[in-house]
């Protein structure tokens, strides 16, 4: 028998009893950046494939949604910082070993790319928004520039989209001390999820039948990929170090089992997968719109589970002898 306990009381906020430094802000950030990455990639591919006429929503309207996403993502990230007064320090250094430092700089390029993609689609996608911009000489110049150079921008966007989606996964992976999040498969998993997210948005927003058909296929493919990658990730963790094995047990009988299977895998992956498989055979019924909504839900849940279980799993978990809540009397 082994009893390992803290005999001085320790209750560091957001560290004890489990690390809880990252909350909904980071989860939403990861979700929104994934969506932006997907938007960058899909819009760019439509541009590069010269299919803007057939896939109008993806080419002209999706980028603005991506831009709003990344804007919200940055806002949430800022909200998360507990010492906001020096937030600018992210841009005061570049730390090559720190994944988040890469992220800070890459996100600037991502914002630029999604902004340019938004501008190139503005006149066609959102004429009401384009008109006031066109009233200024600079606005007209910017829209013209974005339209003229949309192909080189699109090339860059594909690359940036893949990188930034990988970044969100790698950020998790790099947290060695959070075993559940530290599988190398997080990067492709998050990329796939980001693409599925963007595809779901297209499916919700697009009206053209051709566009809807293509993206229902893309969505199906991405969800299939996601399921496979998730299975591989779990297998990878289950064959990992002792702490990784323990962490994965949290979804196989442990405290996160219900949440993982009943509230993530089934509704967020398997149900949309079934619906899309059904939809591929024939005409899409209107009730099937539930599927992309579930995919969005699943993408958010994936990130929530990776962040939460990642933080709960760890190397050391000491139990206090004395009730740590009593320290609140001193705070």
């Amino acid at each position: 028998m082994r009893e390992e306990i803290l005999i001085t009381t320790r209750a560091n906020p957001k560290i004890d009893p489990n690390v809880a430094a990252w909350g909904w802000q980071v989860i939403a950030d990861l979700f929104l950046v994934g969506l932006t990455a997907g938007a960058l990639i899909f819009t760019a591919m439509v541009i590069l494939g010269r299919k803007e006429e057939n896939f109008g929503f993806t080419a002209k309207r999706l980028p603005l949604i991506g831009l709003i996403s990344i804007g919200l993502a940055m806002t949430f990230l800022f909200l998360k910082l507990t010492h906001k007064i020096v937030f600018w320090r992210f841009f005061g250094a570049f730390v090559p070993t720190a994944v988040m430092s890469w992220g800070a700089w890459l996100l600037q390029l991502v914002i630029l790319a999604i902004l340019l993609l938004t501008l190139q689609g503005l006149r066609g996608g959102y004429p009401a928004l384009a008109r006031p911009v066109d009233k200024f000489r600079l606005g007209t110049w910017a829209l013209d520039w974005a339209e003229r150079y949309r192909r080189p921008v699109a090339w860059a966007s594909v690359v940036l989209g893949v990188i930034i989606a990988f970044y969100t996964g790698t950020l998790m992976t790099s947290m060695d001390a959070r075993p559940f999040a530290s599988s190398g498969l997080m990067a492709p998993l998050f990329l796939t999820s980001g693409l599925a997210t963007a595809a779901a948005v297209v499916l919700i927003g697009a009206r053209a039948p051709e566009e809807r058909l293509l993206f229902s296929r893309v969505l199906f493919g991405m969800v299939v990929f996601k399921v496979l990658l998730l299975a591989l990730t779990l297998a990878n963790l289950a064959n990992g170090s002792q702490v990784q094995i323990e962490s994965v047990q949290m979804v196989f009988g442990g405290e996160y089992t219900r949440l993982f299977w009943l509230f993530f895998v089934i509704p967020g992956l398997l149900v949309p997968l079934a619906i899309e498989a059904f939809g591929l055979r024939g005409k899409r019924a209107s009730w099937m719109m539930i599927s992309p909504v579930l995919v969005l839900y699943g993408a958010y849940m994936l990130r929530q589970l990776v962040v939460d279980i990642g933080q709960v799993s760890g190397y050391l978990s000491y139990v206090n002898t004395y009730n740590p809540a009593l320290l609140d009397l001193l705070r």
Partner: protein, 179 residues
């Protein structure tokens, strides 16, 4: 890099928690926050038992994953040593270091920046031991330079069985426990 190490004799430690009080007063750590703590591990069944007391803190790893993870270089090494410090003026409170530390040894100050054990570098600079070491009534804690084969810490590690916590992480922790 000069490697400072702490060597704690679990056979002599009585788990009194003086190290925790000394740290809190020396470093003016606010109420409800801790840079160090004491763990008691009991193995066996009555009456065949063994206990081990460990005063734990940041391990000032030679390969500190927290330092690698910090995006703003707020976490840094003090001079050319393994002593890992946090600069409050650079720390945004992003939490990357907290996620990266396998020992959960970091804490968030009420002002929002991250803090941790400093090995009392302000004392080390004056040739003193960290407050926890110099207050320990049993003298079971030792501090010194590992690169010097004649230092107490080197000699103790050379002559006694010891372990460090979570060696398997590859962080090369520099707080050792004599067992």
């Amino acid at each position: 890099m000069i490697r400072y190490a702490m060597v704690i004799d679990t056979k002599l430690c009585i788990g009194c928690g003086d190290c925790v009080v000394a740290c809190k007063t020396e470093n003016k750590v606010p109420a409800g926050l801790n840079r160090d703590w004491v763990v008691e591990a009991t193995t066996g069944t009555y009456p065949n038992l063994k206990t081990e007391f460990r005063s734990e803190r940041c391990n000032h790893c030679a390969k500190p994953t927290c330092l690698y993870a910090c995006p703003t270089a707020a976490t840094y090494r003090w001079e050319d040593t393994n002593i890992v410090l946090v600069d409050p003026n650079k720390c945004t409170g992003c939490g990357a270091c907290i996620a990266a530390c396998p020992y959960d040894a970091r804490l968030i100050m009420n002002e929002g920046y991250v803090s941790k054990c400093t090995f009392c570098h302000h004392r080390v600079e004056q040739g003193l031991d960290p407050a926890c070491v110099s207050s320990c009534p049993t003298r079971c804690m030792h501090f010194g330079v590992l690169d010097d084969p004649n230092s107490t810490v080197s000699k103790l590690l050379a002559s006694r069985e010891h372990k460090a916590l979570l060696d398997e992480t590859g962080n090369e922790p520099q707080v050792y426990f004599l067992t």
